[in-house]
């Protein structure tokens, strides 16, 4: 754990408008992301312009004609993305978004207001792309592009988690995520990239996953999961990997193979897959090539996102699967819901085409007939979220659930930003949780569903060097958690997002809320009765964390 501030003070500052146009003098430690080194951005598999230069924020070592390149990249962006251009033009600075940003709430820095953040680049836009800015300069809110301004753009572009909460409240739907995402793309054209995310992007471009896990390592991790499950259930379970002819390809964020508490979710997946195969004959395979559901490229640029997510449809086609199930991850589902089938051509294999003509699970496994995907999905896309899938299994009584196995947990559910605001999956997880556990309580209405607060670490903000920013950004979420912790005695915070699961343990410790973190599929795994293996509801002695189940030693 990196050093965390002992005490944070939120100092709100309200400078006058001229001050806002001047670049900040000091980049605060704890909020400044490191720049990428050639190792990440001059790699064979991920080559960015001018990535071969060692640079730091004291000496950006920009290419000689950087200004020209920056403006060229900006012009290109304005042509390539209507949203960016429109959002440069139509903001009226009403201030509705100002206090919607968790980073603004946590830091009080006026340039962290979504509108403040957008104005940083908007002022450059006005100076070089609008007549009023060219003529009236500062009085039209325009400013020159200088190296200090570039530094500032980098500093604030990497203090945004692309959570889109501001976009929800904006009367014109101005999406800061869109502005920042494309601003980061512009910055990458003059050689400025953030180290944390490019480490993962490069690894994923080279090995197929963010952790840089090689095929053997992935097999080893899953194998260890199966061994743990043997201890918990007593059954010899198995799973497939790279298997041609499987019905379904399963893709999870790579953190699930190793990290805690992601690990317990992974065990949940394995239990469900085994039950489905044993009972209905539905085969689900993992893949080492498409071993990453997450996509840090979506924090960087369209092109980087495409580079990473291009593997998955290819793998689906190679393996000849009928559709794809995706695991618990937040930004992954913005990528997989909104981006992937635009950035890539969907699979064209026979099995895929045939299944989507009549997308009824009964076509793959007779016992599952009745579960259909055509109410909202098609073969032009072909992804189903694991929680949607599980919700359908529960609704159609295809799996047996023993809710009481989760009685030692009192849970609340955190909506990952991208799942809530980039996809709209808010009821399915709740449907699943209400069906697999008895004690589930939502946080206050203004902090969940579409209005959910970010964990403060998404969008590439999970870097250790910006721990101060992360602990500040998570504050609104933590206040809501503390509310349900006090009111209902919640002892686990569930979230289907790998980044949340990495951030929340630190955040809960920092904000002194003594509860656990987990994912909904862990609860499903606990409650799932492996009837196909002859398991009885009362047979399970331990939960997936190895804690003894039931009995009087329950919470409190």
């Amino acid at each position: 754990m990196e050093e965390m501030p002992e005490k944070i003070e939120i100092r709100q500052r309200f400078p006058e408008w001229r001050e806002m146009l001047k670049p900040v003098k000091e980049l605060e430690e704890g909020r400044t992301s490191y720049l990428s080194t050639p190792k990440q951005v001059d790699s064979e598999f991920f080559k960015m312009p001018f990535g071969d230069v060692e640079r730091d924020l004291h000496d950006l070592k920009l290419p000689e004609n950087w200004k020209e390149l920056f403006l060229e990249a900006m012009k290109d962006t304005l042509e390539k993305n209507r949203a960016f251009k429109l959002f440069m033009d139509i903001c009226v600075r009403c201030g509705a978004c100002a206090d919607k940003c968790h980073y603004y709430i946590g830091t009080g820095d006026p340039k962290n207001m979504p509108v403040g953040r957008a104005e940083l680049i908007r002022s450059v836009y006005r100076r070089y792309f609008t007549p009023s800015g060219k003529i009236f300069g500062e009085w039209a809110g325009a400013r020159e592009l200088t190296e200090d301004v570039v530094k500032e753009l980098y500093y604030y572009a990497y203090q945004c988690s692309l959570c889109r909460r501001c976009s929800l409240f904006c009367p014109y739907g101005i999406d800061t995520a869109e502005i920042v995402w494309w601003l980061r793309r512009i910055l990458s054209r003059i050689g400025l990239n953030q180290r944390f995310m490019t480490i993962s992007i490069e690894a994923s471009a080279r090995t197929g996953n963010h952790l840089g896990l090689l095929p053997g390592g992935m097999v080893g991790a899953i194998q260890q999961g199966l061994e743990e499950l043997k201890d918990v259930t007593g059954f010899d379970l198995h799973t497939y990997i790279n298997k041609k002819g499987a019905d379904v390809l399963f893709v999870a964020p790579s953190a699930d193979y190793f990290a805690t508490p992601h690990w317990f979710v992974m065990l949940g997946y394995l239990l469900l897959f085994n039950e489905l195969e044993e009972k209905y004959g539905l085969t689900i395979t993992w893949s080492t090539y498409a071993s990453e559901g997450g996509n840090f490229g979506t924090f960087h640029s369209y092109e980087a996102a495409q580079l990473l997510n291009s593997k998955i449809y290819k793998e689906a086609e190679r393996l000849g699967v009928s559709f794809i199930i995706g695991g618990e991850c937040g930004h992954m589902w913005r990528d997989k819901h909104q981006f992937i089938n635009t950035m890539n051509n969907p699979p064209k294999n026979e099995e895929w085409k045939k299944f989507w003509e009549n997308p009824d699970l009964g076509e793959l496994a007779e016992g599952l007939r009745g579960i259909r995907f055509d109410s909202y999905a098609s073969g032009e896309h072909g992804w189903i979220h694991i929680l949607e899938f599980t919700a359908a299994l529960i609704e159609h009584n295809k799996i047996t659930i023993d809710k009481s196995r989760n009685d030692h947990w009192t849970a609340t559910y955190h909506d990952p930003c991208n799942v809530a605001r980039g996809m709209g999956m808010v009821e399915e997880p709740r449907y699943v949780l209400r069906n697999v556990m008895n004690k589930f309580y939502d946080m206050p209405e203004h902090t969940i569903k579409d209005k959910t607060y970010c964990c403060g670490a998404g969008g590439g903000m999970l870097a250790d060097e910006i721990m101060d920013l992360r602990m500040r950004g998570v504050m609104p979420r933590m206040m809501a958690v503390r509310h349900v912790y006090k009111k209902y005695g919640v002892n686990i915070l569930l979230t289907p997002c790998a980044i949340d699961k990495a951030q929340f343990p630190h955040a809960l410790e920092y904000w002194k809320i003594p509860i656990e973190v987990g994912g909904p599929m862990e609860m499903v795994g606990n409650a799932l009765v492996l009837t196909a293996f002859g398991e009885k509801p009362e047979d399970r002695q331990y939960d997936l964390r190895g804690e003894p189940l039931g009995g009087e030693e329950d919470v409190q």
């Binding site: 598999f45 429109l86 039209a140 976009s167 471009a205 097999v219 010899d236 089938n341 919700a391 579409d450």
Partner: protein, 333 residues
């Protein structure tokens, strides 16, 4: 002379700039590509039939074309997103939400709409029935003499309230640019001068109407003759309004049309049912980065990790997986 300049020349120029400017901006926006389908979903997506969606979900996370239109209509006529606006309070329990911004915005925009409808009497002959009726209703005809148009006063109040926000609320003061104040001041000047003209220094409205009718049919000679006969007070109002028209396309006031273009609102959340094609990447069989991007005359190409490359890199490990028949089982201890 004043009459000819401000009554004939200036309005013609202003309208020309307005029309050309607005058309240019619309075409300019429309010419930009929409690479991705990125609606901001504010409610439950369309999913399995057993996952119920409320009427709000259908508009906040629209799936069909009609639902998307509904969302846009709510956005434009109700300022729905602004209505969701809530302040952040550390101590939530003791605080109540207030939606002043929404109220002020509605007050101003609807007053503006009424005022504009009433002004159509200067451009239309005969004056449509509903314009007459609307004017009579909002003026509570017969209560005051002369009739007091509520919208004309409400618009001034709305503008002042919006301006006071920018002056007295610290956040809003910080992020207001001179152009934000300028737009409000300009609108205030127009509305106040209009009210003054109506209640205190009256202009000859019949002549004004004749002027405008002649301007509209490009009867310039006649218009110039009438223009000189109208009281100067009218030209304060008229010149300011002309200036507003000319200023409009270059300013943030373009949000009026821009809201129609916004991809986070005007696209349905049906990504998984209907594929969106990126116009500048319409056949994405090869990722752009592996084709290479050119910056400053240099091309940067990332090597593509296709299956064959991947296999050649990790052959041993992948062969081992193949030997175990692609199956993972717990290790025998």
């Amino acid at each position: 002379m004043i009459g000819v300049i401000f009554g004939v020349i200036v309005p013609y120029i202003a309208v020309a700039i307005f029309v050309a400017g607005v058309v240019y901006r619309f075409v300019n926006w429309a010419n930009s590509a929409v690479p991705l389908k990125i609606p901001t979903t504010g409610g439950q997506q369309k999913s399995f039939p057993f996952i119920k969606r409320t009427i709000y979900d259908r508009f906040d996370s629209p799936y069909t074309w009609w639902e998307t239109v509904g969302r846009m209509i709510l956005e434009i006529f109700m300022f729905r997103s602004l209505l969701k606006n809530t302040r952040y309070y550390l101590d939530r329990a003791s605080q109540k939400d207030a939606r002043w911004l929404w109220l002020f915005a509605i007050l101003f925009h609807y007053s503006l709409l009424l005022v504009l409808i009433r002004h159509s009497r200067f451009f239309l002959q005969p004056v449509p029935e509903f314009v007459e009726m609307l004017s009579e209703i909002e003026a509570f005809k017969g209560v005051f003499i002369p009739s007091v148009y509520i919208s004309g006063l409400a618009i001034v109040a709305g503008l002042f309230l919006l301006w006071l926000r920018r002056i007295f609320l610290s956040r809003e003061r910080t992020l207001s640019l001179p152009s934000d104040h300028f737009a409000l001041i300009l609108l205030l000047a127009i509305t106040i001068s209009g009210n003054i003209m109506r209640y205190f220094f009256k202009a000859d409205l019949a002549a004004v109407k004749e002027l405008l009718m002649n301007l509209m049919v490009f009867n310039v000679g006649k218009a110039a003759a009438i223009a000189d006969s109208i009281e100067p007070i009218f030209y304060i109002h008229f010149a300011l309004a002309s200036f507003l028209l000319a200023y409009f396309p270059f300013s943030k006031l373009m949000h009026a049309g821009g809201v129609l273009f916004t991809p986070t609102r005007n696209m349905p959340n049906d990504n998984r049912a209907k594929r969106h094609i990126n116009p500048w990447d319409s056949d994405p069989s090869v990722p752009i980065l592996t084709k290479g991007i050119t910056v400053s005359g240099m091309t940067f190409t990332s090597k593509k990790l296709d299956w064959d490359t991947y296999y050649s890199m990790y052959t041993d490990q992948l062969d081992e997986i193949a030997e175990s028949d692609y199956k993972i089982v717990p290790e025998e201890l």
